[in-house]
Subunit: 236 residues, 2 copies
């Protein structure tokens, strides 16, 4: 492992990255096996043939390891959604919408504990570091982008907005997507939360002994969500 010419980052730094990655990988395995509460530093260290105290050279605490896993999970989910969306980028807005929703659901079913980590109950002393924000926004930005394209092509109908909500809607729109009608942005935020409800209920077992054919159920529900945002297939 010795490259005589100046190794980028140094051999020591590279080894550090490798060990860090190995720790995260093993931690992700334990996470998938038993959830966040079952994630034990000592067990991870054992699996890697280290002693537990050695782990603290790489992550100052268990929470920091969890934070790293959360960021990675956000990125993984965001990438899955973006990949799925890229394949239908030219389709009608409702189809793009439901495709992104389906990708979120699929990722969640494939990585239940990681999904729980980012969208479930905040774990112990629940402090959300601001560093996770960019990664956390990727799916949201995707959905906003769908609405924005629909808006530009005249495929967007503004949802109803009661008078009492206009101030809040204007504030929301200014923060998130100033080029979209406030009513649309408000509906988008609500739809986003509702999407999370649908995925969470399926994932956390509330649909057990109730809904059986879940994929079509979900597709229909998200299609109606697209309607509620005002996405249309034909030109206005």
């Amino acid at each position: 492992m010795s490259s005589p010419s100046a190794p980028p980052g140094g051999a020591r730094a590279r080894a550090r990255l490798e060990v860090t990655a190995a720790i995260k990988e093993a931690a992700r395995r334990h996470l998938a096996a038993g959830g966040a509460a079952q994630l034990s530093l000592r067990a991870v260290a054992r699996e890697l043939g280290m002693v537990s105290s050695a782990l603290y050279r790489y992550f100052p605490s268990r929470d920091d390891l969890l934070t790293a896993l959360i960021t990675d999970a956000y990125d993984s989910l965001g990438e899955a959604a973006e990949t799925a969306h890229a394949e239908v980028a030219d389709a009608a807005p409702p189809h793009r919408w439901t495709t992104v929703c389906a990708a979120v659901r699929r990722w969640a079913l494939a990585h239940p504990h990681e999904y729980a980590l980012i969208y479930g109950t905040p774990v112990p002393g629940y402090r959300a570091p601001l560093t996770t924000l960019p990664a956390a926004s990727r799916v949201g930005l995707l959905l906003i982008g769908v609405a924005r394209d629909a808006h530009r092509r005249g495929q967007l109908a503004a949802p109803p907005l009661p008078a009492g909500l206009r101030a809040e809607a204007a504030r929301l729109a200014a923060d998130i997507a100033p080029d979209l009608p406030p009513a649309t942005v408000t509906a988008l935020v609500a739809a986003w939360a509702q999407l999370y409800g649908l995925v969470g209920f399926e994932l956390f077992g509330q649909f057990d002994r109730m809904v059986e054919d879940r994929e079509p159920f979900f597709r229909h529900a998200t299609a109606r969500l697209a309607e509620s945002v005002g996405l249309r297939a034909g030109t206005a």
Copy 2:
């Protein structure tokens, strides 16, 4: 503790009930302070002036204590919703609907950790026993009742239902509310999940630095949910 077949009213049995209640109360306090993960049998025992092993006379394991808390939480939530609904039992269906939703939100904000216990990420390795089912169904039954009344009075419009979902919708309706149109039952289940998405996002901080005026936002979102189920104010 397996089966106290002694006649009711025994002094010993009553003492047992009192200690059990005291344990649950202290546990609920710890739960409110730090969440389920922070709930420690030993801490609870300390607070009650007992030794930890004595607790096991009342709850065979930590999970059993959690189960008791979950059942109580379901009941408390159900009762809050039912009380709120009783006050508007004669109003138009959409108003009854939003009232129940608002009561759920209010209860959740007042008891965040208990809400997390029942609708958040399931505690790992913990499988909810079927005994929690009746308590868990109270809010759902309330919402179904609203739809049923609307149906009887001709204040219910059937939501759209794609052909691919008819079989699943029929199965759902047969299981849950055979007297309602399958499309309505399907929409109800979806709306139920979406309601918990809205509550969960607010509760778990996903609306932080986004939505500020949350009460009107929530009211509007649940009013649109009522529309999506087909609830109408006027007679058809």
